[in-house]
């Protein structure tokens, strides 16, 4: 009995003093591939590492804005749909979607729409017990002065990072995965919609192709939780169809050593590495169609 106690104690300490190095994403991928039918053993540190790699939806939204296309609220998930979301999974997915929409309205300085999205983001956050990360009343008070709104909405977008950390700490990283998946899918949906009206836009074409890298990580994360959650398994199947549509998209990469200089205390890097994306019109059409189908299932 005593020896079991010591073993458990020692194990706890070994875990507490665990490895400093987080494995490569490729390493994690290989582990998952060999696990097949069994529930993959993946530590919270590894999950956090993959979660942190998912880009912020605002990055794609900035590329959309710079395409010169005007703001279009029809691209966004209607705030009226909020009442349709009655499970934690649905709420987390749509919180991600509404968060991306909030970022989109912010980039275009659409104050009233921004407030509407802020309201549903706040409601869903409360529903998921993460309302403490969004002090909505203070935010609303500050919005009395419209000039503060841009920064307020930006702060709200930034809080999503803290929410993700909270879900991981609470052993609820599946919700974090869904939150990020929703945000990423919405940003890709908006980019696709703009791309379909500007098929000669090389910047957006490349950005859509590059999402193959992010999708691979999202599939990896969903795989972890799909075994014990039918809704996530269903979403995983949809994402795997999207992965198939991305199969013919290629991304080449060539490393060249960087150079640098210090300017005003900041190390300015001159990057010499390059990447090229190959994606056809047909690929974009297929990818857009699947994204729309999956998104409609989520927001419906």
């Amino acid at each position: 009995m005593k020896s079991s106690y010591y073993t458990i104690l020692l194990s706890l300490i070994l875990v507490a003093c665990g490895s400093n190095k987080k494995p490569d994403l490729a390493e994690i991928d290989n582990t998952l591939a060999t696990e097949e039918a069994s529930f993959p053993e993946i530590s919270s540190a590894n999950i956090e590492s993959i979660l942190s790699s998912i880009p912020h939806p605002l990055e794609l939204a900035v590329h959309v804005q710079e395409s010169g296309i005007e703001y279009n609220s029809a691209y966004l998930n209607s705030t009226d749909n909020y009442s349709n979301y009655n499970t934690s999974n649905k709420k987390a997915l749509n919180l991600g979607i509404y968060g991306a929409d909030l970022g989109y309205t912010n980039i275009y300085s659409q104050i009233q729409d921004g407030l509407d999205y802020l309201t549903v983001v706040s409601k869903l956050s409360d529903d998921l017990n993460i309302g403490q990360f969004l002090d909505f009343e203070s935010l609303r008070r500050l919005t009395d002065n419209n000039s503060n709104l841009d920064s307020l909405l930006m702060i709200t977008s930034q809080n999503f990072d803290r929410i993700n950390g909270h879900f991981v700490d609470q052993n609820n990283a599946s919700l974090s995965t869904l939150l990020l998946t929703g945000g990423w899918l919405e940003a890709l949906h908006i980019t696709n919609q703009v791309m379909l009206t500007q098929m000669d836009n090389e910047d957006l074409r490349e950005r859509i192709g590059e999402q193959k890298i992010v999708l691979d990580n999202i599939v990896l994360l969903l795989t972890v939780y799909s075994e014990h959650d039918a809704q996530i398994a269903d979403l995983l199947a949809d994402m795997q169809r999207l992965e198939e549509a991305y199969q013919s998209v290629t991304i080449s990469y060539k490393y060249e050593e960087s150079t640098s200089e210090i300017v005003d205390g900041v190390l300015e890097i001159i990057s010499n590495s390059t990447s090229e994306v190959s994606i056809t019109d047909d690929d974009i059409t297929k990818i857009s169609a699947i994204v729309e189908e999956v998104r409609n299932k989520i927001i419906g």
Partner: protein
Amino acid sequence: MIYFKLKNKKNFKNLDMKRLVFFIAVLFFSTSISYGQCDAAGKAAGCAPNPDSGYTLIKSFEVDGKGGAKEKIEYSYVFTKGTKYLVNVCGGAKTPDGVVVTLYDKYRNKVASNNVDGKVVPAISYPCSATGIYYITYTFVESKDYCGGSTIGFKRAG
């Protein structure tokens, strides 16, 4: 005599085990205490890019070296071609306090580090020319507190 020796050996074993447990408990609690001393989240929150710089904050990372027990903390992020990133590092009140950030590409080629010939600078500006997963690794060199925060801001390159 033999019985006495065996008994002593048993006592010694018990004593040895007690000492081991005591040592482990002290180690565990002292580690826990040092964990509590690093407000990495607070340091990350205070490490946002200057609003006038044009960078939008997109990620914040906690860098808790557990008082020196943890040598390396690693995150990853997908950097996008055509986007300029600013990686800020905060440790002490006005300096990075020896918190070194190094960027590696997905093949672990070194892309950048704020440790320039032994001088640790507080920020790296990286105009990304190749999309992919990058590893953001934090280590320490002559750090006082082994505790910091870091953020990534972005703006369109050009």
